[in-house]
């Protein structure tokens, strides 16, 4: 049973697909199936989807997540009514999602259900916390569509990353793209006593000086960096950016004279929205990047089948991926 033991070490797990059709659901079903044989209480939910996608998902998707008897799940009223299993309602949220209130229920038979969850990560976090009162050991969050942000360690403690032919039908390309995300997930943690203090900052750009003192650089946003160039290094070269990191920021830092001293600190890997080119160029010039919170990556799974029907050779793909990432990689169809 690959990686099942690892999942149970954490209170929460999100399963995140790099693209649609990367086998996220298969991966989830595998995990749920295997967890049945343990004596742990599992809960499953998702993160809501808004706007148009709601209708898309509602109309084109049929329930496909297979729950085992005894599993607790949270889904919207709309999806609850479409379930194909017997389940007991345990709770009903006061808050509404676009698909109605959220229902907490326990599967009383094995069967399929569509899972939709809270609309935002704040609500999701409180749900994960509340699961303790139902004696849930691990809450699994289905990462609905490709939303890497869900993999944030601020939301769930661990992730499983699903990738596959849907990302690219060319094995080297696919490996390269996955490796990049893998690298981001594995960015080193920023070790410091003031970490908690930095985590609590919600906006702005900050510097940490040699004595570990935090200074507000008074630069409202990374977009205004060029205008505030003179302020940036007034308190040393450890720069903490609370918001998103873009190519523009990395490119700007890269051409600074003191690039080799620069340590760019971000909350976690989900704040980094850069191309591999800009990222690698930044590192190559000697720039460093660190995260405050690191995610526990439990496994990488691959789906050799693309939505267009193209099938990659499972073994070649798995090996190539495994060699590049230096960790075991699983073909989701063969688990």
């Amino acid at each position: 049973m690959p990686f099942i033991e690892d999942i149970l070490k954490y209170k929460s797990l999100s399963i995140v697909g790099l693209e649609k059709n990367t086998g996220k659901t298969e991966c989830l079903n595998y995990v749920l199936r295997r967890l049945k044989d343990t004596d742990k209480q599992i809960a499953l939910t998702s993160i809501g989807i808004d706007g148009e996608t709601v209708d898309q998902v509602k109309n084109t998707h049929k329930p496909e997540i297979e729950l085992q008897e005894g599993t607790i799940f949270l889904t919207s009223e709309t999806h609850y009514r479409e379930k194909l299993l017997v389940s007991e309602i345990m709770d009903l949220s006061q808050q509404h999602t676009s698909l109605g209130r959220l229902i907490t229920a326990r599967a009383m038979s094995t069967g399929k259900v569509l899972i939709s969850g809270p609309a935002d990560t704040v609500w999701l976090k409180s749900i994960i916390k509340d699961m303790a009162s139902l004696n849930v050991d691990t809450t699994i969050v289905d990462g609905a569509l490709s939303r890497l942000s869900l993999g944030s360690p601020a939301v769930t403690e661990s992730i499983v990353l699903a990738t596959g032919a849907a990302v690219s039908a060319n094995i080297p390309q696919l490996v390269k793209k996955t490796k990049f995300v893998y690298d981001l997930i594995n960015i080193e943690e920023y070790e410091s006593d003031i970490k908690e203090e930095l985590i609590s900052k919600e906006k702005g750009i900050w510097a940490v000086d040699a004595d570990g003192v935090i200074h507000d650089l008074d630069i409202p946003s990374v977009f205004l960096l060029e205008k505030n160039k003179d302020k940036l290094f007034t308190h040393g070269t450890v720069i903490f950016v609370t918001g998103a990191i873009s190519d523009k920021l990395l490119n700007f830092l890269r051409i600074q004279k003191n690039i080799k001293d620069i340590v760019l600190v971000v909350k976690d890997f989900t704040k980094i929205f850069v191309t591999p080119q800009a990222y690698n160029a930044y590192l190559k010039r000697g720039g460093r990047i660190r995260v405050l919170l690191r995610t526990n990556l439990i496994a990488v799974t691959v789906n050799p089948v693309s939505p267009e029907g193209y099938v990659l050779d499972s073994e070649t793909l798995r090996k190539a991926m495994s060699e590049s990432l230096q960790i075991p990689v699983y073909d989701i169809k063969k688990l």
């Binding site: 009223e77 609850y80 017997v86 007991e88 229902i103 038979s109």
Partner: protein, 462 residues
């Protein structure tokens, strides 16, 4: 019909009072906002007594634990009117609605048990035991719900069979699943039919728990804000230690005290004069607030209060957004005054509160308007309070004056920050016709241009 919702933003400080109520459920909030302005003495007295009873219960340290539990239970109550209407309309409920009803019925029975333990009988909760029985065939008394196998042996058998056939024979399995759905639907129909009989007690229970929530919130607010139980009076409305809760809190945040005032309103107009910044408008607004709170069955912000219930509270306090309606401030004011005069003529029992009557027109005509209005107010079934800066009024009505700046106590420079320390906001009887002349002095405190002050001083007829 005047509801709390219709006046909450018209009466200064009312929203503050409502928002600071610690209501446990949003159901109670909706009920409260739809509650009616009470005039009939009997219902008003009963409402106040109900709050008072809850006040004594909540204040008793013996009940601390119970109140906490009660609040928690009330907090879980959801507005399930939709599901209850379905029951009353003989519709079939789905699992989610049945769950709502079951959880509600269990909560009501728990709340009832808590209230019975202290022998509370004022608000009687109907027994929903039968409803619970219908929705809890296994007698577990846990607020979970689904179509339990114990509803039907056939269903139980089919479900088992379906589970065992899952991997072997998916087609037969699907057939059984559909059969199960059919039986489940039948059971839902039966349950809904059985519940129909209890639609009324369920609805009553919903109203009653909301009412208990409201009483408790009013009682707790009364304790926290040091409000008092108003006594019903026939002749005079009088307040001892009247204060404005919102202003008191604002001042408290600046480490200042709100100076409480005593005031008595007879069945005749009463004029209030006083310097600028002496708090005349605050007095009017606070009296309006206290009267409204009383009529909606709240305790009132004073040490002691005796209040005459009135049919209507009418105000002309100059912060109407009348410009928005294309009216000049004078026109808006006159229309307000006209409404009050009409009420006087109709013999309605009214409390009228008028701030700086006719202040926006020339003093000569303004004074005339004040005189005339007071003449008319003297002859109605009306209690009124009129503030003014005018002197030379030819009325014999009662006059009060805000003491204002305590000139003898001023030791250092008076500034806008500390002017409150030198103001005495209390009201005194003022039977001569002298109005305070402190406008220039206060303007100086406000830091108004020296040249202006000097010139104004020259123009002042001393």
């Amino acid at each position: 019909m005047t509801t709390l919702r219709s006046i909450i933003d018209k009466v200064n400080g009312m929203r503050y009072m409502v928002e600071s109520l610690e209501l446990c459920s949003s159901l109670a909030k909706r009920h409260l906002l739809s509650s009616e302005y009470l005039y009939a003495e009997e219902s008003l007295a009963k409402e106040i007594e109900n709050v008072d009873e809850m006040f004594s219960i909540a204040k008793d340290a013996v009940n601390t634990d119970l109140i906490e539990k009660l609040k928690m239970k009330l907090g879980h109550i959801l507005d399930i009117r939709g599901s209850l209407n379905n029951i009353a309309n003989a519709a079939v409920l789905d699992d989610i609605q049945l769950f709502e009803v079951k959880r509600f019925a269990l909560l009501v029975s728990e709340i009832d048990a808590l209230l019975s333990s202290i022998d509370y009988k004022t608000v009687v909760l109907p027994s929903l035991e039968k409803v619970i029985d219908i929705l809890d065939p296994d007698k577990k008394r846990i607020a979970h719900f689904y179509i339990y196998p114990s509803y039907s042996n056939v269903l139980a058998g089919l479900r088992k069979k379906q589970e065992s056939l899952k991997d072997e024979n998916p087609e037969e399995c699907e057939e059984i699943r559909l059969k199960c759905l059919e039986i489940e639907d039948e059971i839902r129909q039966n349950i809904s039919r059985e519940l129909y009989e209890y639609a009324k007690p369920l609805m009553e229970a919903l109203d009653s728990v909301a009412y208990i929530d409201i009483l408790l919130a009013k009682a707790i607010q009364a304790d926290k804000m040091s409000l008092c139980k108003p006594k019903m009076s026939v002749d005079n409305t009088s307040y001892e230690g009247l204060f404005n809760p919102q202003l008191k809190e604002v001042l408290l945040a600046q480490s200042k005290d709100f100076q409480e005032i005593d005031i008595c309103l007879y069945e005749s107009p009463c004029l209030i004069t006083g310097a600028n910044m002496a708090g005349k408008t605050v007095v009017l607004k606070t009296i309006a607030l206290a009267q409204y709170l009383f009529q909606f069955g709240f305790f009132v912000p004073a040490k002691n209060a005796e209040i005459v219930p009135v049919e209507d509270i009418m105000m002309s306090i100059g912060d109407d957004q009348s410009e928005m309606n294309g009216l000049s401030s004078f026109a808006a004011e006159m229309l307000n005054i006209n409404a009050i005069i009409k009420a006087v003529h109709s013999g309605k029992k009214v409390l009228a509160l008028i701030d700086e009557l006719a202040r926006t027109t020339n003093p000569e005509e303004g004074r005339a308007i004040v005189n005339a209005t007071i003449d008319i107010l003297e002859n109605g079934n009306i209690r009124s309070l009129v503030t003014t800066h005018y002197n030379g009024l030819e009325t014999s009505c009662r006059k009060l004056r805000v003491k204002g700046l305590m000139t003898d106590k001023i030791t250092s420079d008076v500034t806008i920050e500390n002017i409150n320390d030198y103001m005495d906001y209390s009201l005194v009887e003022n039977n001569d016709d002298i109005v305070p002349m402190e406008a220039l002095r206060i303007a100086a405190v406000l830091g108004v241009d020296k040249q202006l002050l000097e010139k104004a001083d020259k123009y002042t007829v001393r």
